[in-house]
C-alpha cells in the first residue's frame, strides 16, 4: 500500500506534471489531446481487472465484470480514435 504523505507527494507531483504537459499545447491539438488523455485514464482497466479478480459473491462478480467491460471500452476506444486523428496530421513536406 502507498500511504499517507508518500501518496500525497505522488498526487501533487503528478498534478503538476499534467498541468505542465498541457500548458504549452497548441490549439490545433486540443481535440486529439483530450482524446489522448481520455485514453490514458483507461488505465482504470487494470484496477477493474484486480477488482473482478478478487470478487467473491455473484453480485461482486457482476459489477466487476461490468467494470472490466467499461474499462476495456475506455482504453481501446480511446486509443483507436486518438490514433485515427493523429495519423492525419501531416506537414507540407510529408504531404509531398
Amino acid at each position: 500500500m502507498i500511504e499517507g504523505f508518500t501518496a500525497l507527494y505522488i498526487f501533487m507531483l503528478a498534478g503538476f506534471t499534467g498541468y505542465e504537459i498541457i500548458s504549452r499545447v497548441p490549439v490545433i491539438l486540443h481535440t486529439p489531446l483530450m482524446s489522448g488523455s481520455n485514453f490514458v485514464h483507461g488505465i482504470v482497466l487494470v484496477g477493474a481487472m484486480v477488482a473482478l479478480g478478487h470478487a467473491e459473491t455473484d453480485m461482486e462478480v457482476l459489477v466487476g465484470f461490468i467494470g472490466v467491460l467499461l474499462g476495456a471500452g475506455n482504453a481501446v476506444g480511446g486509443y483507436v480514435v486518438t490514433e485515427r486523428m493523429l495519423e492525419m496530421f501531416k506537414s507540407s513536406k510529408e504531404a509531398g
Binding site: I21, V40, L52, L70, G73, E83
Partner: protein, 457 residues
C-alpha cells in the same frame, strides 16, 4: 512476481507521461499515442499475473466484449462525430472507476478508513462522469433535441446532491455498509450526473465533456489509492490536472466561465439571445464566377472554415480549390477559431482528414493581424466566430468573445446556406458590411463551382 509487476506499472506510468508530452506537439504527436498505447498493453498483460486473482474467464470475456465493441465503433465513427465518441469512451472510464469502488465497498475490507473515504469519493465522481457523459453523447448525437428545464430544477438538483452526500457519509462511516445504502448512493450519483447535464446546451457541451474527462481522471486516481496501484494514481492525476487546464482553455476560448456553463442554460434557446436587433443595411450577393476571379487574381487569401463546412462535407473540395489558387501563385492560409467545430481543435482534425498540412493552418492569435493584408477572406460555414459585434457592441450576448477579424480584410466572401443566424441566435453584422459579399449555397456545391470556374481562368 511482485517485482515484475511493479517495474511494469512504473514503466507504464512513465510511458503515459512521455506519450502525453509527445502528443502536445504536431511533429511528435503520432508517436505519442503509440508510446502511451505500449504502456497500456504492458500494464494490462502484467495485471493477469497479480497474485490471488480468479474469475479469469469472466475477465477475458469482459475484455473481449468491451474492447471489441470499442474497437469496432472507434474505427467506424466519422470525424465529425468525434466529440460525442470521446464522451462515451470517457464515460465508460468513469463507470469502471465506480464499479471498482462498488466491488470494494461490497467486499467491505479496507486497509484503513482513509481508503474507504477515497473509494466513496471516487465512486461518486466516477458515477457522475459516467451518466453525465452518456447524456452529453445523446445530446451531441441528436438523440435529445431539447434541453430539459423545469421550475425548481436547481432546488431539485440541490436535494439530489444533499441526499448523495448523506448516503456518501453513511457508507464512509459504516464498517460494513448495507447493500441498500450502497444501491441508493450509486443511484443518486448517477441521477445527479444526468440532472447536471440535462439543462446544458449543445454549444457548451465540449467544455462539459472536457470537465468529465478531468473528473474521470480524478476518480481513477482515487481508486488507484484504494487498490495501491501507483500507475492508476499517476495516470489519473495527470489526466485530472491536464483535463482541468484544458477545460479552462476551452471555456476561455468560448468566453464562457465554467460556472456559467454549468449553472445556466445559454445555448439551449431562451435567455441571453432573446432581444434581437437587426444589424441594418443590406446583404450584397456575389456569384461563383466573380468570387473565383476575385480570389484567383488575389495575392493572399485567408480561408475561415466553420462547422457548417464540415456538415456539408466540403473540406476536400475547399482544399482542392486552395491548391488551385496556390498553383496560380496565391498565398493561401487557413484561419481557425479555437471553437470552430464542436470542440477546440476539432476543425483541425477535419481539415487534416481532407489532407490540409498543419503548417498552413493558423490559430486566432497567429493570423488576426494578417487580415488587413489579405485581399480576400473566404468564410465558409462560420458565423458567430467572425461576428464583429463581439468587439463593438457591449449589449450583445457574444460581446467579449475573441473573434477572427475577418471584417478587416480588403474583401470578404461569405459562403452560406441561407440567411439564418448562428448558433447563438445573434444577427451577424459582418454580412452587412460594404466589403462583404454573400455567396449562397451548400458548401460542397459552392466549392465545386469555385473549382470549375478557377480551372477555366
Amino acid at each position: 512476481m511482485g517485482l515484475l509487476i511493479n517495474i511494469s506499472y512504473f514503466l507504464a506510468a512513465a510511458l503515459f507521461i512521455l506519450g502525453l508530452k509527445r502528443m502536445s506537439s504536431p511533429v511528435t504527436a503520432r508517436g505519442g499515442i503509440v508510446w502511451a498505447g505500449a504502456g497500456m498493453v504492458v500494464a494490462t498483460l502484467v495485471t493477469f499475473m497479480t497474485p490471488g486473482l480468479h474469475n479469469f474467464g469472466w475477465m477475458i470475456l469482459a475484455l473481449a466484449i468491451g474492447g471489441g465493441l470499442a474497437w469496432y465503433t472507434g474505427k467506424k465513427v466519422a470525424m465529425t462525430d468525434m466529440p460525442q465518441m470521446i464522451a462515451i469512451y470517457n464515460g465508460m472510464g468513469g463507470g469502471a472507476a465506480a464499479a471498482i469502488a462498488a466491488v470494494e465497498l461490497m467486499g467491505g475490507e479496507f486497509y484503513s478508513r482513509t481508503f474507504q473515504v477515497l473509494a466513496v469519493i471516487g465512486a461518486m465522481i466516477g458515477s457522475i462522469a459516467f451518466s453525465g457523459s452518456m447524456i452529453a453523447f445523446a445530446k451531441l448525437q441528436g438523440l435529445m433535441k431539447r434541453s430539459l428545464v423545469f421550475n425548481g430544477q436547481q432546488l431539485f438538483n440541490l436535494l439530489v446532491f444533499a441526499g448523495l452526500l448523506i448516503f456518501g457519509f453513511l457508507i464512509m462511516g459504516a464498517e460494513h455498509p448495507s447493500s441498500f445504502s450502497i444501491l441508493v448512493f450509486f443511484g443518486l450519483a448517477l441521477l445527479f450526473g444526468v440532472m447536471m447535464t440535462l439543462p446544458i446546451g449543445g454549444a457548451d457541451m465540449p467544455v462539459v465533456i472536457s470537465l468529465y474527462n478531468a473528473l474521470t481522471g480524478l476518480a481513477v486516481a482515487f481508486e488507484g489509492f484504494v487498490l495501491g496501484n501507483a500507475a492508476m494514481i499517476i495516470a489519473g492525476t495527470v489526466v485530472g490536472s491536464a483535463g482541468t487546464l484544458l477545460t479552462q482553455l476551452m471555456a476561455k476560448a468560448m468566453n464562457r466561465p465554467i460556472s456559467n456553463v454549468l449553472f445556466s442554460g445559454f445555448g439551449s434557446g431562451g435567455g441571453a439571445g432573446a432581444e434581437q436587433q437587426d444589424a441594418g443595411g443590406v446583404m450584397k450577393e456575389i456569384d461563383a464566377t466573380d468570387a473565383a476571379v476575385m480570389m484567383a487574381y488575389a495575392d493572399k487569401v485567408i480561408i475561415v472554415p466553420g462547422y457548417g463546412m464540415a456538415v456539408a462535407q466540403a473540406q476536400h473540395k475547399v482544399w482542392e480549390f486552395a491548391q488551385l489558387l496556390e498553383s496560380r501563385g496565391v498565398t493561401v492560409k487557413f484561419a481557425i477559431h479555437p471553437v470552430a467545430g464542436r470542440m477546440p481543435g476539432h476543425m483541425n482534425v477535419l481539415l487534416a482528414e481532407a489532407g490540409v498540412p498543419y503548417d498552413k493552418i493558423y490559430d486566432l492569435e497567429e493570423i488576426n493581424n494578417e487580415f488587413p493584408q489579405a485581399d480576400v477572406a473566404l468564410v465558409i460555414g462560420a458565423n458567430d466566430v467572425v461576428n464583429p459585434v463581439a468587439r463593438t457592441n457591449p449589449d450583445s450576448p457574444i460581446y467579449g468573445m475573441p473573434i477572427l477579424d475577418v471584417d478587416k480584410a480588403q474583401n470578404v466572401i461569405v459562403v452560406k446556406r441561407g440567411k439564418g443566424k448562428g448558433f447563438s441566435g445573434v444577427e451577424n453584422a459582418l454580412f452587412f458590411l460594404d466589403n462583404t459579399r454573400m455567396l449562397y449555397g451548400d458548401g460542397q456545391d459552392v466549392a465545386g463551382k469555385l473549382i470549375a470556374e478557377a480551372k477555366q481562368l
